[in-house]
């Protein structure tokens, strides 16, 4: 992103402009952001496998959300729309055939030296990350939205732009592929 240097007057001007351009006030945005930023950031990181890219996409997601001229029915609709933007952004960036192993996952390799539950959990997470990264980007999105966010089939279908009947089959295939990958210890 371009480095910006602004005077105080320009900043004030920018805020005035934002209040007019954006679909919510700064106060309302803060509340909404506190509720959604972490889930969206985790989603972006899992979908891209790249923390830096996830940070950039997080900013872009909220920018597009703020500039959207959509009449929201409620908080669920607003949240779903936000994830829809994030999903589309990830798909735009999915030219990379495979994700890089996230730094967090690499750190977990060291964590496996820990004992008991924590170590087992770390191994499970690492296997999950490895298995997820072998799936297609769209399959990762489907599984995440369905089983980590708890979206209904209709909501997911609307978000990714497919028919609900097609989605059920796609979700089934993605789930089976993930289970298969997990069964083989996340190895391809």
């Amino acid at each position: 992103m371009r480095d910006l240097t602004l005077t105080d007057m320009e900043r004030l001007g920018a805020f005035d402009e934002a209040e007019r351009t954006f679909q919510m006030t700064e106060e309302a945005f803060r509340t909404f952001y506190e509720l959604t930023a972490r889930p969206v950031r985790v989603y972006l990181a899992r979908m891209t496998g790249d923390d830096r890219l996830a940070d950039d996409l997080l900013q872009e997601t909220y920018y597009r959300f703020l500039r959207a001229s959509v009449a929201f029915d409620g908080d669920d609709h607003r949240r779903n729309y936000l994830f829809r933007i994030a999903t589309n952004l990830v798909h735009d960036h999915r030219r990379k055939p495979f994700m890089e192993v996230p730094p967090a996952a690499a750190e977990e390799v060291a964590d496996t030296r820990q004992h008991g539950d924590l170590a087992e959990r770390s191994v499970r997470r690492m296997d999950l990350h490895n298995a997820l990264k072998q799936l297609k980007p769209r399959e990762r999105s489907l599984l995440w939205l369905a089983y980590a966010q708890g979206w209904s089939h209709e909501e997911i279908a609307a978000a990714i732009g497919v028919k609900t009947a097609s989605l059920k089959a796609m979700l089934h295939r993605a789930r089976q592929r993930l289970v298969h990958r997990l069964g083989s210890g996340g190895r391809s």
């Binding site: 910006l4 920018a14 954006f22 803060r30 997470r125 789930r175």
Partner: protein
């Protein structure tokens, strides 16, 4: 026998897991169902793994402050609206330049055939006042050259800023 790809109760299973109620704080019938239903069993195993990952990641992940995200968005919105506002002006400048150039060239084309006649008129007028035909024809020749030089200079003066504008313009 083909395997079912969905179960009407799978959403209930997912909801119970994401609410943290699975398996001890939810309907026993649902847990029993999931134990016997291939689809729900698979859904539960995947959802439990993903939820565990989400819970842990939410603790680990760092997100920028809301104010920072808002500020960046506000600055960007302002830059974009400034650029959007400047776009029609750029077009207007280009169109105005083209019109001026067109008018100048068409004027030049209209005037060009009249130049020899004009020079002749000047020469005739000069003949009346000046004693020598050589002097008047020399003045007329010089005048004709001056008109051509003036026109070329005028064209350069108009075209140069336009060309510079087109080359240096962002759009």
């Amino acid at each position: 026998m083909s395997r079912a790809i969905e179960c009407p109760r799978e959403q209930e299973v997912v909801n119970a897991i994401l609410a943290g109620a699975w398996p001890h704080r939810c309907d026993d019938a649902l847990v029993s169902h999931a134990a016997s239903c291939e689809v729900c069993k698979e859904v539960a195993s995947v959802s439990l793994l993903l939820r565990e990952d989400v819970d842990q990641s939410r603790i680990e992940v760092h997100v920028p402050a809301a104010g920072q995200v808002w500020w960046r968005a506000a600055v960007r919105a302002r830059l974009e609206s400034t650029q959007a506002a400047a776009r029609p002006m750029t077009w207007m400048h280009a169109i105005t330049g083209a019109i001026v150039l067109g008018v100048f060239l068409s004027g030049l084309t209209a005037v060009w055939p009249l130049l020899p006649a004009g020079v002749g008129t000047v020469r005739d007028a000069a003949n009346r006042f000046l004693p020598s035909a050589e002097v008047t024809s020399a003045i007329a020749g010089g005048l004709a050259q001056s008109v051509v030089v003036g026109l070329v200079a005028g064209a350069v003066l108009i075209i140069t800023p336009l060309a510079l504008y087109v080359v240096l313009s962002d759009d």
